[in-house]
């Protein structure tokens, strides 16, 4: 099972609703983010026109997660039932090695809880059959949540419906991120790293 997010950047309008919904749902302190929207551009494309897209970034739910490998206490782990990479806050000793090992810098240090935190794909919501807060709040319907291994899931269908050339992932340095980004070349050139 590979529960993850697929984000259609052709649809994303950069409204930051996902980032706000994430902070509200998970009570994330001021100045820290589990999900953040990065403005990519504006840049001048080959046709001499300006192009910009917005790149929401959160835990990429890597198949070969380096954060799990470096954790000295097993606090970073993969939930056997959902396949989601999570943090056991009781076990986290605050060494921050996982923050160093994450290629995408999506883990944050919580001053209030004195442990590392990150996107949990809103387990408190998905376990009750709801969508993660960022997916539910997306007014452009650009975010999809589900199991990539289930052909009937929203994420599998979104990827299957997209032009293979439009399916991207953040640069893979051996960690195999599962989060997919859909961005057509006609909208903007992908700048988030190689597939």
């Amino acid at each position: 099972m590979r529960n993850t997010l697929v984000i259609d950047l052709d649809r994303c309008i950069g409204c930051y609703s996902c980032a706000v919904a994430c902070k509200t749902e998970n009570d994330i302190p001021l100045g820290t983010y589990w999900n953040k929207v990065i403005e990519m551009g504006p840049t001048i494309n080959d046709r001499g026109k300006k192009e910009t897209y917005w790149l929401p970034v959160q835990c990429q739910q890597c198949e070969n997660a380096p954060c799990i490998h470096v954790c000295p206490t097993g606090a970073s782990y993969r939930d056997e039932e959902s396949g989601i990479v999570l943090i056991d806050k009781e076990k986290c000793i605050g060494c921050k090695y996982c923050m160093m090992a994450c290629p995408y810098g999506v883990r944050t240090w919580s001053e209030t809880e004195q442990c590392v935190e990150k996107c949990t794909l809103c387990g408190q919501r998905t376990s009750a059959g709801e969508q993660p807060a960022c997916v539910a709040a997306c007014c452009a319907e650009a975010r999809f949540y589900g199991d990539l291994d289930d052909p009937a899931s929203d994420v599998a269908r979104a990827v299957a419906a997209a032009d293979p050339k439009s399916v991207h992932a953040l640069m893979n340095v051996g960690n195999d991120p599962t989060t997919a980004y859909l961005l057509s070349e006609s909208v903007a050139a992908w700048k988030g790293g190689d597939n």
């Binding site: 470096v70 000793i93 160093m100 290629p103 995408y104 810098g105 240090w109 004195q114 953040l170 640069m171």
Partner: protein
């Protein structure tokens, strides 16, 4: 990610302590400078303990170290074990030297502690080998940690031994070689990391001039000016420590831009430490 000073101090002090005791072990095996062995051991032990404590302050709570010790495969566990075992060797050696008992056993503990302490200087650097950070993921990094610790530790030992040091030539040669290698590894690491971080002053002023050139010059002078051994080695030690510190800071300075190279240009926005 900002410079993690707890980890910088940890690797700096334990590296110097490890190589100080390794130099002492070399003399202990040869039967040289016996009258200074106890004092030098105590200094190395204090540095090792202070370095270890600095590492613990990096955690959310010092008591969390106990949790890390439950997992013997982690880098933190290995480092903690090396700090603990080398400290035990130092303590036993100091007791045996003070009581003048079991000279053979004392040599065994000296060699064991020296080897463990020297190994720690390499392994502390190897903990940072991560695929996610391209500039860190090179063997030059732990080699730099090792090489910059060599002059810091040996000059500290020779400064403690003082002007009447017996037969210090071999240690001086190793110290000079370590200083040269530390500067070379510093250059190779900083220039080869591909990072555009501005580390010019840290590299050329700190690692090369302070950490490499000064200890080499002091070492060469000490061959002929034995009467100034303590002064020369004290100056060399201070500069070697500054050089080793700069090398470690450069590693952290390259972190952000290295992250950008693997597709995370926004990494600084997430990092709140």
């Amino acid at each position: 990610m900002a410079v993690q000073w707890s980890l910088v101090v940890f690797t700096l002090l334990t590296g110097a302590a490890g190589w100080c005791f390794a130099a002492l072990a070399f003399d202990a095996v040869r039967g040289k400078n016996r009258d200074k062995a106890f004092f030098a051991t105590i200094v190395a032990l204090v540095l090792m303990v202070v370095g270890g404590v600095a590492s613990v302050t990096h955690l959310a709570h010092p008591g969390n170290m106990l949790a890390a010790l439950n997992n013997p495969t982690s880098g933190i566990f290995v480092e903690a074990m090396l700090v603990g075992l080398s400290s035990v060797c130092m303590i036993v050696f100091a007791v045996l030297v003070k009581r003048g008992a079991a000279p053979t056993a004392a040599k065994v503990f000296a060699v064991a502690g020296g080897v463990l302490g020297a190994a720690l200087s390499y392994l502390a650097g190897s903990s940072y080998l991560m695929e996610a950070i391209s500039s860190w993921n090179t063997v030059v990094l732990p080699l730099g940690y090792l090489a910059t610790a060599v002059p810091a530790g040996i000059t500290l030992y020779l400064a403690l031994v003082g002007n009447d040091a017996e037969d210090p030539q071999t240690l001086l040669v190793v110290m000079v070689a370590g200083a040269v290698l530390g500067a070379v590894f510093g250059l190779v690491y900083a220039l080869g990391s591909g990072s555009q971080a501005d580390v010019t002053l840290l590299l050329y002023g700190g690692v090369v001039a302070c950490g490499g050139l000064v200890p080499v010059v002091c070492g060469l002078l000490a061959f002929k000016r034995r009467g100034q051994m303590r002064t020369l080695m004290a100056v060399a030690c201070a500069c070697a420590l500054v050089g080793a510190l700069c090398f470690r800071v450069i590693m952290w300075e390259t972190f952000v831009l290295a992250a950008a190279q693997v597709g995370a240009p926004y990494i600084t926005d997430f990092m709140v430490l």
